[in-house]
């Protein structure tokens, strides 16, 4: 078609375009133009109706135009920065060189514009940005600044690294394998530093490691992936639209549904190093389909050695490493191969536990020391331990977050409608802030992130708290936030921090005239719990405050009221006012009965609490039916895997064990132990409590071997979990000593008690004066070992410390025995009488019978045969039917003494 024909087309089109389709066809038939012209006009008329070409470009190609908005930056001024050339494109956006040019100094920087998908992403990005800004390490490109450009596109300003990617750098300099590893070590250090701040890179690849002019490797793009992932726990291998992420470097958990964590970086570091030394990337994705790619990514990484051997460029690769092919093969096949295989294991638990270990192993390799990667059994066991441990951490964190969450969602109640509306608005804002806080804690509490030893839940919380506290300016929101932080600290056992935050929350609520609110009451309650945990007398005052506040808000029976009553009862234990305490428990039970019924889980839990109070009084026979009932209701109302049900089983099992109901005890203690093990793992305090009580049960049964095995295990676990110098570890020793004692192995018992005393009297453990009990036990062992002098010294020391009722009785009784051996009969008698007096109200058969035995022995030594025999018969009748194994020992001793007394009587007759 030429211009003449076109002008004819144009003429016809203009004339016909407004006519109806029929008229158009008719007109075209009448026209006597060439077929080409008519055909074109016909096509144009038809096409006009198709709207294939839109009114404007923006309508035609919105996605492309969106993209343009994001990439268009060059020459623009963003804050003090002038955008220059595009220097990179990847991950989540485009990176430009830029210059800061405000007045005095010029600075070259890299600016990354980030494409966001949703407003939530923007908020997350902002939070993450602040975290990243704190990341300072000589081998990490620093995040200098950031913000939003006028179009609302967020950007990051980073240190500009004038360098080349690490693989090119190494190749150009023909670095040897060792040289490459040395070049790589600072990268590991950088990643490790980030991990200590809970930041995971997730996209470590050659392009993200630049080596500057000084030969310093610098890691770029830190944590951006996480900042943007919709679901922080799982990053998609590609982001929508053009922001493609090459998946060749992805860890298997990044495509599967595994959690991303520091182990992901370990994998990617291993992959990168493997590529650096072997010259062949681990994965060639080529033109694989998406499904093939996913399958490929889940497959084990081929050993660098095999990759090299199969490569057609093997000779050249070796040359670029300044060595021969055989030498390179030897290096890749040895320990280095093991290290890389371990770093890149498909199963995260099989990898190095943290990147420092990878670095250590590489340093060992460089200095020809044996590497850890060669010992699969030990690391596998270790990683398995970490994995088990992780569950417990996650479970306890989840629990404390649930607690704080419940507080945050309580609703402010007031009478005036208007006030209510205003408060509701404030509440919404407050909740948003609190939620944000919780989310930030939760996000960081990624158990995989916290698997590094030096990262504790406490430091997570400190980071999160610092992030939130500064940003809140509304006092009510601040109060709610402090409340949540305090609650979380309390859950972590950090009572001092908890107290500080909760006091601040209470003060703020008061200042704001909110001391008659649910939040105020909840905060007072939490603080009461904090003081309770710290054994401070103030707990009662605060629980009472919470209770009265809640009662004033509404006398209606409800969970908060019951909770407050139960906590108040617990705090009242320090007053020793038994009637009032039991009364308070009963009030709680009544309230629960009226709002939830007597067959509810709440009722079961409250019964359990009342029961454990009776337990603390030693009123075991009163406790037993309560424990049975609590467990029965619990079994009906709770899920089988509810830890509270296991706790009720533990209570029932313990009291059954201590009251000689060994069948019930065996079943329930086993059940509690199994459930706790599943729920919390085998190192949680509750699991350990069940373990300890099982060892006590075996002691009651006289099954010495089992008892000692469990007691030893208990000591070991406490050592592992709390550290060998902790008061808890002392408890493990003490328990083991008691076990040896009841097995008649007094030397070992004495040694165990000494261990416990040593820990408890260490100045590092101030305020732990539980050593009194262990002094008594040690004294008892010394008596049995025939060292009355040392024993009496131990008892004297014990007297200067707090002693429990049972321990006091034992101390008196064994001191009497020691005096007896020293021939100090008067003193012995008064001590034995003291023991018997002390034992009577405790209603413990063995304790009383033991005191009677000792008194009888003292009387016997004074030739008061009749009185001795009377005591012995009394003791005998007490223990005759006792199911406890110890009763048998006692019975033997009683009978021996009795026969002595009878023989004496016969002689004197």
């Amino acid at each position: 078609m030429g211009p003449e024909q076109w002008s004819r087309v144009r003429e016809l089109f203009d004339r016909l375009c407004d006519l109806s389709q029929a008229e158009q066809l008719a007109a075209l038939e009448r026209a006597n133009d060439s077929a080409e012209v008519l055909g074109r006009v016909k096509e144009m008329l038809a096409a006009e109706r198709s709207s294939a070409v839109k009114d404007s470009l923006a309508e035609q190609t919105p996605a492309l135009m969106d993209h343009l908005t994001r990439v268009s930056a060059r020459g623009r001024q963003v804050g003090p920065y002038t955008i220059g050339a595009l220097i990179g494109r990847g991950g989540m956006g485009e990176i430009y060189a830029a210059e800061r040019s405000d007045g005095a100094y010029r600075q070259r920087v890299a600016i990354k514009f980030v494409a966001l998908q949703s407003p939530e992403q923007a908020a997350r990005f902002e939070r993450e940005r602040q975290l990243l800004a704190s990341l300072e390490h000589p081998n990490i490109a620093r995040l200098l600044d950031g913000g939003m450009d006028p179009n609302g596109v967020p950007f990051l300003v980073m240190e500009y690294i004038d360098g080349q990617s690490i693989d090119r750098y190494c190749d150009e300099r023909r670095l040897s394998v060792a040289g490459r590893i040395e070049q790589f070590l600072p990268v590991i250090a950088a990643v490790s530093a980030a991990h200590r701040q809970l930041i995971v890179h997730r996209d470590i690849k050659p392009q993200n490691v630049l080596v500057d002019d000084n030969g310093q490797p610098k890691l770029i793009d830190f944590g951006i992936g996480k900042a943007l992932a919709d679901n922080p726990a799982a990053l998609n291998i590609t982001r929508p639209d053009d922001r493609l992420l090459t998946p060749a470097n992805a860890a298997p958990e990044q495509v599967g549904d595994g959690a991303i964590g520091t182990h992901t970086d370990s994998f990617q570091l291993g992959l990168l190093l493997g590529e650096l030394v072997s010259g062949v990337p681990a994965r060639e994705l080529g033109s694989a389909s998406m499904e093939q790619v996913v399958t490929l990514l889940l497959q084990p990484i081929r050993a660098p050695l095999n990759r090299l051997v199969d490569s057609p460029d093997a000779q050249a690769i070796a040359a670029a490493r300044s060595c021969g092919l055989d030498a390179l093969k030897r290096q890749l096949g040895g320990d280095l191969g093991s290290i890389l295989a371990k770093a890149c294991a498909i199963e995260p638990a099989a990898r190095y536990r943290n990147v420092d270990e990878l670095g250590d192993d590489l340093r060992r390799y460089l200095t020809h020391q044996p590497v850890q990667a060669r010992k699969p059994s030990s690391w596998y066991l270790l990683s398995r331990f970490v994995r088990r441990h992780r569950v417990a951490v996650a479970a306890s964190l989840a629990a404390l977050l649930a607690l704080a969450g419940a507080l945050a969602y309580s609703v402010v109640q007031t009478r005036e409608a208007e006030r209510q509306r205003a408060l509701a608005l404030a509440e919404a804002q407050k909740q948003a802030e609190v939620r944000r806080f919780l989310v930030s804690v939760f996000r960081q509490a990624d158990p995989n992130v916290s698997r590094g030893r030096d990262v504790t839940a406490r430091s997570l919380l400190a980071t999160a708290a610092a992030q939130v506290v500064d940003r809140v300016d509304d006092p009510l929101t601040s109060a709610a936030t402090f409340q949540a932080i305090g609650g979380a600290y309390h859950g972590l056992g950090a009572q001092e921090e908890a107290e500080r935050y909760l006091q601040r929350a209470l003060a703020l609520y008061r200042e704001m005239g909110q001391s008659e609110s649910d939040d105020f009451a909840a905060t007072a309650f939490l603080l009461g719990d904090v003081y309770q945990a710290a054994s401070s007398a103030e707990s009662l005052e605060l629980h009472r405050l919470a209770l009265t506040t809640r009662l004033r808000l509404s006398p209606e029976p409800r969970a908060e009221l019951a909770e407050s009553l139960l906590a108040t009862a617990r705090a009242m234990r320090q007053t020793n006012n038994r009637e009032a305490i039991v009364e308070t428990y009963n009030q709680a039970l009544e309230i629960i009965a009226s709002y939830a019924g007597t067959d509810s889980a709440d009722y079961a839990r409250a019964l359990g609490k009342l029961g454990s109070y009776y337990g603390s009084l030693g009123a075991l026979e009163t406790l037993y039916p309560i424990a049975v009932e609590a467990y029965r209701i619990g079994e009906l109302s709770m899920e089988p895997d509810d830890p509270e049900l296991a706790a009720l089983a533990l209570l029932l099992g313990t009291v059954a064990s201590d009251t000689g109901r060994f069948e019930v005890a065996r079943e329930k203690l086993q059940q509690a132990f199994d459930r706790f093990t599943v729920i919390y793992g085998d190192r949680h305090p509750r699991t350990l409590a069940a373990l300890a009580n099982r060892s006590v049960l075996f002691s009651h049964l006289g099954q010495t071997e089992e008892m000692l095995a469990l007691a030893t295990q208990y000591r070991d676990r406490l050592n592992e979990v709390f550290g060998p110098r902790s008061p808890k570890a002392a408890f493990g020793w003490s328990n083991l000593g008691s076990s040896y004692f009841s097995a008649g192995r007094f030397d070992e018992a004495l040694e165990a008690f000494r261990q416990s005393i040593e820990i408890l009297t260490n100045p590092e453990n101030p305020g732990e004066d539980n050593a009194g009990r262990d002094y008594v036990f040690a004294g008892m062992a010394l008596v049995e070992l025939g060292e009355p002098d040392a024993a009496l010294e131990a008892f004297e020391t014990a007297q200067t410390r707090a002693l429990g009722l049972v321990t006091s009785v034992l101390a008196s009784r064994y001191a009497a025995e020691a005096r007896l051996r020293r021939g100090e009969l008067k003193a012995a008698q008064s001590l034995a009488e003291q023991a018997l007096e002390g034992a009577a109200p405790l209603n413990q058969v063995l304790l009383t019978a033991g005191a009677e035995l000792t008194l009888a022995r003292v009387l016997l030594a004074q030739a008061e045969l009749t009185a001795a025999a009377r005591k012995l018969e009394s003791a005998r009748s007490r223990v005759a039917d006792s199911p406890f194994h110890k009763a048998q020992d006692l019975l033997v001793a009683i009978d021996k003494t009795l026969s002595l007394a009878r023989a004496g009587r016969a002689a004197s007759d």
Binding site: C17, A52, L64, D66, H67, T69, N151, L244, M290
Partner: protein, 209 residues
């Protein structure tokens, strides 16, 4: 008819345009361009304004480094529109190429959106090719379409820049658009035929015939 209908401002605009784009006055020119671009797009897609701003920005930068002298207002806008067209087409081509050799870089999740984008990209590239064809037949219509479609200018503004009446521009745009649409329709038809027949036009760059 005068060369410069809305005298003073255009005068100074042309004057300003002839300075280096890094000069202090350059931002004013840029600002003016943006205002023009915005005004036309207010009624369209919500973020169209944003898009045009970006496009103007890109085009202006491209212009700034290679073209500094303007005969008149018409020359400036025509060039600007052409550059904007180039920016868009370059971008579309780049992405289209990236998609061709980077199929693996699309996740399953993105696949649906990816198809959409693919269609968008080939459409824009096809429109460019068709417009080139139109330009061989009728350079004036090509210019109308560039101003109206790629630079996003209103009928009134195009009329003013090209010194024509508004109804004329309307008719011109309609014809140009119909021509492009007819090219695209036959392009799609041949592509479909190619896909069905196994070998055919599908592997050809779209729109070149």
């Amino acid at each position: 008819m005068s060369d410069q209908p809305s005298s003073s401002s255009s005068d100074s605009l042309t004057g300003r345009l002839n300075r280096d784009w890094r000069d202090d006055l350059a931002p004013e020119v840029y600002q003016e361009l943006r205002v023009i671009a915005h005004a036309q797009l207010r009624s369209q897609r919500r973020n169209a304004t944003l898009n045009t701003t970006a496009l103007v920005n890109e085009a202006y930068l491209k212009l700034g480094t290679r073209q500094r002298h303007w005969k008149d207002r018409k020359h400036f806008y025509a060039t600007m529109a052409k550059v904007m067209r180039q920016v868009v087409i370059d971008l579309a081509r780049r992405h289209s190429a990236a998609k061709r050799d980077g199929g693996v870089r699309l996740s399953l999740e993105v696949l649906d959106r990816g198809e959409l984008r693919w269609q968008e990209l080939s459409e824009v590239i096809a429109i460019d090719a068709a417009l080139e064809k139109l330009g061989e037949l009728d350079p004036y219509l090509e210019q109308v379409l560039e101003l109206r479609y790629f630079a996003g200018m209103s009928v009134a503004d195009v009329a003013e820049v090209l010194q024509r009446s508004e109804p004329t521009i309307k008719r011109d745009f309609r014809a140009a658009r119909a021509f492009l649409a007819s090219e695209l329709t036959s392009e799609l038809a041949s592509e479909a035929a190619g896909a069905n027949g196994g070998e055919g036009a599908a592997s050809e760059p779209p729109g070149r015939s």
